[in-house]
Amino acid sequence: MLEKFTFMQAEIARRPYLQRLGALFSETVLVQIDDQEFYLTFDKGQLVDLAQGISRKTPWTFAIRTDAEALSEFWTARPKPGFHDIFGLVKLGRGRIDGNILTLVKNLRFFKDVMALPREMQEAAQ
């Protein structure tokens, strides 16, 4: 799973439009997949740190929690209905979003575009 986030990191770095969209986004986001935790720290839209492992000491602004199967479907090029969007995962009962939702909503396009980047990894592998 870590390779998905390192791919994300590299893709953000080479896409000026994402850096523009994320210019005011300097937050840590927790992505929890089953019992695995990934802390993604952004600084002005750049993904500057990736930390894996359960931590009670790492503060985060908002968290998205889902399961590996749902996230795998989310990252296909054409996910099934509901699996195509982070809010769809929540609606299906396969995801949960906690924390400062307003910060997420203010940066929603940036964060959604970032979360969708591994779809291109899947496409490249096919």
Binding site: P81, L108, R109
Partner: protein, 277 residues
């Protein structure tokens, strides 16, 4: 070079004593079809169908921008008003446009909040129409989000609204049309999407009115996309089940803005809907 057959004009009508200058555009000849846009958007959502000879050869498609939307300015004094769309004013606006344009028993095709008001009109004013195509339409959906997110001084409501509604667009939608669809939300005036959502997420008066709809006099056809998270196929089916005689079609590869996000995919469903009217 291409010049499209769509023509736009303005109509001024009185709604509750207030003059509203309404932009409308049309294309085609034949049976009139009034087309209603979704929340936070405008008539451009219908431009593909208006450029489709298979539709306009037999139908006169007329779409208009609700006041505060697209090229319809808000009313005088808007700068100190809070825009909150209400069912009664929405109904009066649709009826005023129909009367103002002298249309006799048009078909009404509306999407999302336009589909919701289509069903309200089917219940309350069926004599004014010959049938209803209610797209992504359901009885009621409370908001799972805070509608105030989309009108605040420290963020761009249009961009946030576009990012939110992108959840309702199918991954089968052509990329260009996905973004054209979202652009309309990005352009939406301050507080307009929030004001539309006030109608869509707070007024549940349609639920009790659904059984009043007489489909023997005015047919009702509901169309819903499988990728619509706002009005799901389950929501649309629950609604259709409450209207005796209503028909329902589910589009497996489309979302909440079918005429805009994926016009080619929507065309056969829309033509089928017209054939039932």
């Amino acid at each position: 070079m291409t010049i499209e057959p769509i023509c736009g004009r303005y109509l001024t009508v009185q709604i509750d004593g207030t003059p509203q200058r309404i932009y409308f555009e049309e294309a085609g000849q034949g049976r009139p079809v009034i087309c209603l846009h979704t929340a936070g958007a405008d008539t451009r959502q219908w431009r593909h169908l208006m450029n489709t000879p298979e539709v306009t050869g037999r139908h006169r498609l007329i779409a208009f921008d609700m006041p505060w939307h697209g090229k319809s300015l808000p009313p005088e004094g808007f700068q100190t008003q809070e825009y909150l769309l209400q069912t009664d004013a929405y109904i009066k606006t649709v009826l005023a446009v129909i009367d103002g344009l002298g249309l006799e028993n048009p078909i009404l095709a509306g999407c999302s909040m336009g589909g919701r008001i289509a069903l309200q009109l089917a219940a309350l004013h069926p004599d004014k129409f010959s049938g209803f195509i209610a797209i992504e339409a359901s009885d009621f959906q409370p908001a799972w989000y805070d509608i105030d997110w989309f009108h605040r001084p420290d963020a761009h409501g249009g961009e946030m609204g576009a990012a939110l509604v992108s959840a309702n667009i199918s991954p089968y939608a052509p990329e260009a049309e996905r973004w054209n669809t979202l652009w309309m939300f990005m352009q939406s005036g301050p507080g307009v999407f929030r004001g539309d959502l006030n109608f869509y997420t707070k007024d549940d008066s349609l639920i009790a009115r659904l059984p009043m709809i007489d489909t023997a006099k005015t047919p009702v056809h509901i169309i819903v996309g499988a990728y619509d998270l706002t009005c799901t196929p389950e929501d649309a089916k629950r609604t259709a089940d409450q209207i005796p005689g209503a028909t329902l079609a589910v589009m497996d590869e489309l979302g909440h803005f079918p005429m805009s996000e994926h016009p080619d995919g929507f065309l056969p469903f829309f033509r089928h809907g017209l054939s039932l009217m």
